[in-house]
């Protein structure tokens, strides 16, 4: 065996040595006085022709030196790597602290509240049991007004005492009653949001629950305009859904606002095209998005737009009911269901999930 091939063999042996024992075995294999491969090589040199001996001898000694250095170094490294007696396996699972989760509706409500707080809005809360006057009449919906059909109401079997006024007869269908109470008590300017639970006699299905959460807003002043409403709502929609979403403000009807309007954003599923997303079928396991097959996008019913909230300029009749001068003051109001925003924002496919309190659902949302 010649020097070059022996060097090659050592290099490959060294690369394969994993443990300290492996390295010690290599030392024996190559450098043992008896039977070591390098020792044998040196013996061969003695029997080589005299003129080759000096060169071969030098090469063999250099190889011996090289192997010795390499093994010594690697053994030192191996010794340094040896675990301490009290070492731990850092890859074992950590001890998880008990930390709960905010409900997703709270998460979203907090986010909405923080947006409006930044815009200088006050947050107020009102009673969930209301009287007919604050829930309907003061809002330009006298008895037998056809618009009362828009909000199917849950009534109390008998009136219940209320700390804030006449006995309550119904579960509020919106938080607008709170706005009326605020205006009854404080003069303009007003700039508030009223979040809270509201109730309607809707059967449970994918998009309805008899209790849901609303955030309503109200701004009243001497120069509040429909353009201000539009600007506020667009900013809100962009804050919540991202600046890349397009918005659309179009006329609508609510008895307590005139003119009224609804804000739409471009559909997040189809990107506002109304067409079926090319890969919706393969990437989305959700029925609502999967159905978006040949017929087009099911989320937005192929329109490319999804409705986000309802709004309008406060009807002068509402101002008259609370004693504000409708000639001097103008104002806007808006209302949005937090559940609906959550469906749109997070792709939650069934609104009932918010009230089933399945921890597997709740724990998907950050603290």
């Amino acid at each position: 065996m010649n020097v070059a091939s022996l060097q090659q063999q050592f290099t490959s042996d060294l690369a394969g040595a994993a443990s300290e024992a492996d390295l010690r075995a290599l030392r024996d294999k190559y450098l043992a006085r008896k039977g070591g491969l390098v020792s044998n090589l040196l013996k061969d040199v003695a029997s080589a022709p005299a003129e080759q001996r000096p060169v071969l001898g030098r090469q063999a000694n250099e190889l011996k030196q090289h192997i010795d250095t390499q093994l010594t170094e690697r053994l030192a490294q191996a010794a340094a790597r040896k675990p301490a007696a009290d070492a731990i396996d850092v890859t074992l699972a950590g001890r998880a602290p008990f930390i709960g989760h905010r409900h997703p509706l709270t998460l979203l409500r907090d986010r909405i509240e923080s947006f409006f707080l930044r815009q200088g809005f006050l947050i107020v809360e009102g009673p969930e049991l209301e009287d007919d006057y604050h829930n309907f009449e003061a809002l330009n919906m006298p008895a037998e007004h056809p618009a009362r059909d828009m909000q199917d109401t849950l009534y109390l079997a008998s009136p219940v005492t209320s700390a804030v006024g006449s006995p309550a007869t119904l579960l509020r269908t919106h938080t607008s009653g709170m706005q009326v109470r605020y205006m009854e008590r404080f003069p303009p300017p007003v700039r508030l949001i009223a979040p809270g639970r509201v109730y309607r006699r809707d059967n449970l299905d994918l998009t309805h629950t008899p209790m849901f959460t609303q955030v309503e807003g109200l701004v009243v002043g001497e120069n509040v305009t429909l353009a201000d409403l539009k600007g506020t709502l667009e900013t809100f929609a962009h804050d919540l859904f991202g600046p890349e979403r397009r918005t659309r403000f179009r006329p609508s009807f609510f008895p307590y606002t005139e003119p009224s309007g609804e804000l739409d954003i471009s559909c997040g599923v189809c990107g506002g095209t109304g067409r079926a997303p090319a890969d919706a079928r393969s990437v989305s396991p959700k029925p609502a998005e999967r159905q978006a097959g040949e017929g087009g996008c099911a989320m937005c019913k192929q329109t490319g737009w999804v409705e986000v909230l309802g709004s309008g300029m406060v009807h002068p009749a509402v101002f008259e009911a609370v004693g504000y001068d409708p000639e001097r003051y103008t104002g806007f109001a808006f209302g949005v269901g937090i559940e609906r925003l959550a469906l749109l924002k997070w792709g939650v496919e069934d609104i009932r999930l918010f009230y089933e309190n399945d921890l597997r659902f709740l724990e998907q949302f950050p603290l």
């Binding site: 107020v124 008998s158 605020y182 008899p210 001497e222 329109t303 309190n357």
Partner: protein
Amino acid sequence: MRLPYHWLRELVSVPADPEGVAATLGLRGFEVASIEQGAQPVIDFEVTANRPDCLSVIGLAREASAAYALPLTLPDRTLPPADDAKPLEVVIEDAELCPRYCAQMFEVRSLGASPAWLRDRLEAAGVRSINAIVDVTNYVMIEMGHPTHAFDLARLNGATLRIRRAKPGERIRTLDGLERALEPDMLVIADAERAQAIGGVMGGADSEIGSGTRVMVLESAYFKPSSLRRTSKDLGLKTEASTRFERGADINAAPAAIARAAALLHQIGAAHPLGAMIDRYPAPKPPLTLTLRGARIARVLGETVEDADVPKILGPLGFEVKPVEARGPRSEVRNEGTSWNVTIPSFRVDVVREIDLIEEVARHDGYVGLPGTFPTLTAPQPPPDPRMLRDRTIKQVLIACGMSEAMTFAFVEREAAAPFAGSVEPPALKNPLSEKYAVLRPSLLPGLIDAAAYNRRRERRDIRLFETGARFTRDGENRAVAGVWTGAGGSSHWSGAARAADFFDVKGAVEALCRTLGIEVTVSAAMRPYFVEGRAGDVHVRLNTEATAGGHDSAARGQNHLVASGSPPSREALRGDRDEARRAESGSRILGEIGQIAPAILAARGFPPNEELFAFELDVDAIAALQPTGDLRAESLPRFPSIVRDVSILVAAILPAASVRGTIRSSAPDTLVDVTEFDRYLGKGVPDDRVSLSLRLTFRSPDRTLTDAEVDQAMDRIVAALVSAHGAIRR
């Protein structure tokens, strides 16, 4: 409202395809539900409750004519010449409920099928074809939005129609075959003998036209919307006609609808008018005229609309617009720039004040081009509602305690509520969705127990949930926070098995929560029907001047709720609270409870057997009223070392630890700063009815270093007190 595209094009030659029309009207307030393509394209619009005029082809065509600036062609509405006939009589006995009633007799010539074009249109509009006469009345209703009704004259008793209120006990069999009892506030169309139709809602079966009908009377009227709506609701009878009338029909369309029906009946050869049309309209309503100010438009919209554009927008919608001459004293026009006198067409029942006209201008001028601005803040805002901040704190603490927030319905099953309602019935709903949601919750616990059971049935062992929200009694709403805990008391880990949760996990969370809110609470044994006996406690706060001084905020006082976040309570109110607090000084107040839910309740709610669920509920309004509001005062850190002494004693097993701590505190010098039990042992070496309790006492003085000797002396006094008070034996 299903709008057949070709029908629309007959009235307005819109250049756009169905999608284009849908998009254009969609941006003018008519939301599009769907578009059907094919030979008979149909656009289905969702018409809002304020626009009954657009529950018709003409109404939507008028909108399209304004949107596309194209003329609107109304169909032929001239009454064909009539044959002579015996007179018909109409008597309006209640002009309040029926201000106008028109009727026309017809000789019926054919009751067969209508021609194909008519049937196709009806079908496209979503109406089933019946026979030529019914089809024409439906056609007129869809085209003009005005419902009419046909009676068989021969089946009426006499030739006089009386428009009156129903008589007590009066009944009618309606076209749907049902026998209905009428109330005296319901309007009926009657013959000499009895009611033959419920005005504007549905006709009677007895005078229904049929194959034998020779002469029919066609009614076209206007009914008072609110009364009609109540009738329709009370009878549970909603028809195409009632839907239109209750939103407000066009009072002037009553004769026009008869003329249009006559023209169509004549055209298809189904019937021919007999005698003159009767039009009873005792007190004709003059048209409404409103003043519209240009400056007001700009003030509401935030954008100026050119003077010239206003008549251009309103005119095609049927409004008559005349500029107001700026003569007379200037104050009359209030220096508001251009103004217009606008006469409102009778079909626009929704336009009753200036703001409604401004909406019309905005609607057709386009919300799209409106700039997006931001309202100016003209006054500083009051501070935030303390309730809101408190709710956030409550959630944060409980989340930090490992509990997740739940939200459950405010209404629950009667049986689920019963154990928590005490002896009083919880408030019930008059029209609950189902028995599952029959009563308002008297406590948050029924909902949380159900939520825990729901999770438990889904293989979840460790459940920690809380909820904040309102609970209800006949005395109103009360804000509460509650939680449930089952499974492990600590996280499970490979290093050792998790401890099972117990009462003290929940108690610890409650203590942490109350302490964060600035209140020190104690817990004493209590009995509740929904808790396991011997495993429940009341959460108290001791009422003393220190705990309550200044500790109130307006929103929380009393039961809750109104308002005025930010408006500080009046001095009077505060004084009142303090007086009240002083009166209660010596006592303590119960803020809530902690306990293990009774197995019977868990079983009833579908919780697996032999498992423990621990729970708490606290009155947040009560806590709020007791919270300190003054600024926190930071305490100096101790400057002298403390001395710690442990003591182990044998006492009666039934003796509450609180009593032992109380004896220690009352017999100890002021230098005792803390006493905590650190071990409790029952079993070997301890007599049966006794328990070994070990306590750690910490002594410290704020102004000097304590000596061992004085602490030993204090300990001797304490042990002596424990011996004499509880028969304690030191171990």
